[in-house]
């Protein structure tokens, strides 16, 4: 089995970012690792509009990173998720490990999968409402990013946090990218912008042999082999499908509105 070169690049960036976040989480650097969380930008908006101040531990960096990432999504879909998000990386590792464990991994049926994806909007609404109502980041006890890098630290919900983290880790072995697909509130924020992303993958139907390798390579289970322009909101431009395609130039990365 050969590992595509693009994956080396992606994993190098992921590892560098995980190293940086771990370094911050260990107390080095002038800010907490939470200060770099883009979702904190969304959580801070209500406080900024109503009281002109950031909520709880949130700060300007949360907001500025969220704005920069929204611009990135408009340019290149959810590239942040596929190239830089630490939880995206850990989820992908879980998916690949799950792939080794299963002879044939059970797939969530299409309709059920789509319904379950609505949970990330529930997750988004809950996170925003609780933060706005209490002025505290009280859902951090269920946030895998916070729990992982704080070592289930201050503000976690004890045994419940451990159970949540265990469910997400074990679930990732069964359903690839389970957290990203069904629960990530940042993904929900990106969704409407992602469809508009200018840089996307285009499939040349005249040269495609419909072998389906691109669809199998997609950790988000996007049916690349049956689409012409990949506008799918979950596409992270991770380029795994391009590397899996045996036909030269059948899948191309292009700028298209």
């Amino acid at each position: 089995m050969t590992i595509p070169r693009t994956r080396y690049y992606r994993y190098s960036i992921f590892i560098a970012i995980i190293g940086l976040v771990t370094w911050l989480a260990l107390g080095y650097g002038s800010r907490s690792f939470e200060a770099y969380c883009p979702f904190g930008g969304a959580e801070s908006l209500w406080g900024l509009f109503t009281a002109g101040e950031f909520t709880c531990a949130l700060g300007p960096l949360n907001l500025s990173i969220m704005i920069a990432l929204l611009a990135l999504v408009l340019l290149s879909k959810k590239s942040f998720c596929g190239w830089a998000c630490p939880i995206g990386f850990l989820s992908e590792l879980g998916a690949r490990l799950g792939g080794l464990l299963w002879k044939k991994r059970p797939r969530v049926p299409g309709k059920t999968n789509n319904w379950l994806k609505l949970l990330r909007y529930v997750s988004l609404i809950l996170a925003l409402v609780f933060t706005y109502k209490t002025g505290e980041l009280i859902l951090r006890g269920y946030d895998p990013f916070y729990l992982t890098f704080s070592g289930i630290g201050h503000g976690s919900a004890g045994i419940i946090s451990i159970i949540v983290l265990a469910v997400l880790v074990i679930g990732a072995l069964f359903v690839p990218m389970m957290f990203c697909r069904y629960l990530c509130p940042m993904g929900a924020v990106f969704d409407p912008f992602s469809r508009l992303g200018v840089i996307k993958i285009i499939r040349d139907e005249s040269t495609c042999t419909s072998c389906g390798k691109c669809g199998k390579a997609c950790v988000q289970d996007i049916p690349v082999h049956s689409l012409h322009v990949i506008r799918h909101r979950d596409c992270t431009n991770c380029l795994e499908c391009l590397d899996a395609c045996p036909e030269k130039d059948t899948l191309q990365l292009r700028a298209r509105l």
Binding site: P38, A68, I199
Partner: protein
């Protein structure tokens, strides 16, 4: 227009760096307290324990009736406190000693809550 694969990581990195520097536009203190309108010297403390709005407000309250303190601005996400003070009435060491002093609780115990990591 065809896009080279390596453009994706390049724009992801540019976006992250752009977000990092864009913060300068939005920077504002978590708390800003002014006790006196006179001018004074400035000292910036990086304080372990100033980590959210509540702890920042509690930290500022430690200096409510301290002579020589003109104003305090805290920045929770950077664990930073900027003091404006009258150097003839209080020194940086005294300011540091106040923040690092154990805080008494109602049950008779006390605990050091804030620890100064550096002073600029």
């Amino acid at each position: 227009m065809r896009i080279p694969k390596l453009l994706i990581p390049a724009i992801v990195i540019v976006a992250l760096l752009g977000g990092y520097f864009l913060r300068l536009i939005f920077t504002q203190p978590t708390t800003a307290t002014t006790f006196d309108s006179s001018a004074g010297a400035k000292a910036t403390f990086i304080v372990d324990g100033v980590k959210c709005k509540t702890t920042a407000a509690f930290f500022s309250a430690l200096y409510d009736s301290v002579p020589g303190i003109i104003g305090i601005e805290t920045f929770a996400s950077e664990h930073k406190a900027i003091f404006t003070y009258d150097p003839d009435r209080i020194t940086r060491d005294s300011i540091r000693a106040i923040m690092e002093a154990p805080i008494p609780f109602d049950d008779g115990t006390s605990e050091q809550i804030f620890k100064c990591l550096s002073v600029e």
